[in-house]
């Protein structure tokens, strides 16, 4: 389940897990470890997307990364367990076109209402 782990300095943990494990891991960090979600980063690596969930657990920044193949472009929403993910997931949908399945309030986050469909500003291609 743990594809990679890196501890570049104190108070920083970077791990990579499979896409389907994200929801369970986020729930565990939230409920089991009282993690606070700082934000969620989405990016286009060219071949795939990468999503990083940044959790704060007692001052340690735990960065949970996962790859999302472009052809799939979707992942389970963690908002039901982590309410503050609501805006961050919608922002990624706006900017990269990744869908968060099970998001309770899917709607535009920051792009204008009249922004054209299927135009995602942060995609590299």
């Amino acid at each position: 389940m743990l594809l990679s782990i890196s501890l570049p300095r104190e108070k920083r943990i970077f791990i990579e897990i499979p896409r389907k494990a994200c929801r369970k891991v986020a729930e565990k960090l939230r409920l089991g470890f009282h993690g606070r979600l700082s934000t969620i980063t989405g990016m286009d690596l060219g071949s795939d997307f990468k999503i990083v969930y940044h959790f704060d657990i007692k001052g340690v920044l735990v960065n949970v990364a996962t790859k999302v193949p472009k052809a799939i472009a979707r992942i389970d929403s963690i908002t039901p367990a982590v309410p503050s993910a609501n805006f961050y997931e919608r922002e990624i949908t706006d900017l990269l076109g990744i869908n968060f399945e099970g998001h309770p309030e899917p709607k535009r986050a920051i792009l204008p209402d009249k922004w054209p469909e299927r135009r995602y500003p942060l995609r590299k291609w």
């Binding site: 982590v82 503050s84 986050a109 792009l111 204008p112 942060l122």
Partner: protein, 366 residues
């Protein structure tokens, strides 16, 4: 806001009116140019953004910046915090109709602006942070001038504190309103003074120390009431604490260089965070070894705190909207656009914010 008559039953937060595409722009500029871009995200908390970005890049490059530079960054950051909180205090005074206090706080804030202009050359966008350190030094001659001005400022802020703690009209308008419970603050992942006024103890300067904060002693200010008065008193105490931090930093300023020049930034990624005036500011940067970054992600504190508007405003009346919203210290040019949707008739209206403010003052604290 969904309202029934004057009572607020629901709040929908819509953002994006000032979306500038900064993260996209950051990919089209060099890492060096991005420092200037980051600094322009905000006109009040700019030091946080340029410093957080530089910290992330310095982590990727695995460089330690000189000690003197860390202290100068702390001085710039804490002075930034003071001027931000004093500006906000003036806004709160304005919201409750205390125009004289609005003018007094902003007049005292000028002392901080003078210090910042003296050491950085600017009043906003200090342009002092660079990869590897800072760009300008603080001279021996400037130190007593800084300390003297801070001493005067401290006396004024202590006076303001007494007024906010004891004036009956102010207390009637702020006390017991817009309450966020500790459970709500934790559930919504709120940050900064907004969270600390509800009993949360997180302050990035202590939780995940950066710069020289682990060498300078200071208190994390918290309160438990969670109302607008608590959020006000937390910020006033933070101003007093920050003035002391700057005085200590100026006194303990280590000798040495102010910058360690970096040739190139290798490929890598890092996440860094700062306690900005409004709370945790977090930057994630990914580089590929070239001059241009692959990705720069910024989550500034206000966006994390906007969900607090719901517990603050639901159950209150429309007259409380300006002060309720202001109490989380939102960092957008004070929103002039609030849409009221009447729950029964479904009519919508965009009232001028001045009308809501006058309604609040006429209610006289009921």
């Amino acid at each position: 806001m969904v309202v029934t008559g004057e009572e607020i039953v629901d709040v929908e937060v819509r953002v994006g009116y000032v979306h500038r595409g900064i993260e996209r722009l950051a990919e089209e500029r060099t890492i060096d140019q991005d420092i200037q871009l980051m600094e322009r995200i905000c006109g009040i908390c700019m030091q946080a953004h340029s410093q957080c970005f530089c910290q992330a890049v310095e982590e990727i490059a695995d460089i330690q910046i000189p000690e003197r530079a860390e202290y100068i960054r702390v001085i710039a950051s804490e002075l930034n915090r003071v001027q931000s909180h004093l500006l906000w205090l003036g806004i709160i005074a304005h919201e409750i109709g205390f125009e004289t206090m609005f003018m007094l706080t902003w007049a005292e804030r000028e002392k901080v602006m003078d210090i910042l202009e003296m050491i950085t050359g600017n009043r906003a966008q200090y342009a002092i942070t660079a990869i590897g350190g800072v760009r300008r030094n603080i001279s021996k001659e400037q130190c007593p001038a800084i300390t003297a001005k801070l001493h005067e400022l401290k006396r004024s802020v202590e006076r303001f504190k007494r007024i906010f703690e004891t004036d009956q009209t102010i207390r009637r308008r702020l006390r017991g309103r817009g309450i966020i419970s500790r459970e709500e603050a934790e559930q919504l992942d709120l940050v900064g003074p907004t969270a600390r006024a509800s009993g949360v103890t997180d302050d990035i300067r202590k939780l995940d120390p950066y710069s020289a904060y682990d060498e300078l002693s200071f208190q994390v200010i918290t309160r438990n009431e969670g109302d607008i008065e608590a959020r006000t008193l937390v910020r006033i105490d933070e101003v007093l604490e920050s003035i002391d931090i700057v005085s200590r930093a100026v006194e303990a300023l280590p000798a040495g260089e102010i910058i360690r020049l970096v040739k190139a930034i290798p490929a890598g990624e890092a996440a860094s965070r700062i306690e900005a005036p409004r709370g945790e500011d977090i930057h994630y940067v990914k580089t590929n070894g070239s001059l241009y970054p692959d990705r720069v992600k910024v989550r500034s504190p206000t966006i994390a705190n906007l969900p607090a508007i719901r517990p603050i405003l639901i159950g209150q009346t429309v007259a409380e909207i300006p002060i309720g919203l202001a109490s989380i210290d939102p960092c957008f040019s004070c929103t002039d656009r609030i849409t009221l949707v009447d729950n029964l008739s479904k009519r919508t209206e965009i009232p001028p914010i001045e009308r809501l403010r006058q309604m609040y003052l006429r209610k006289d604290g009921k």
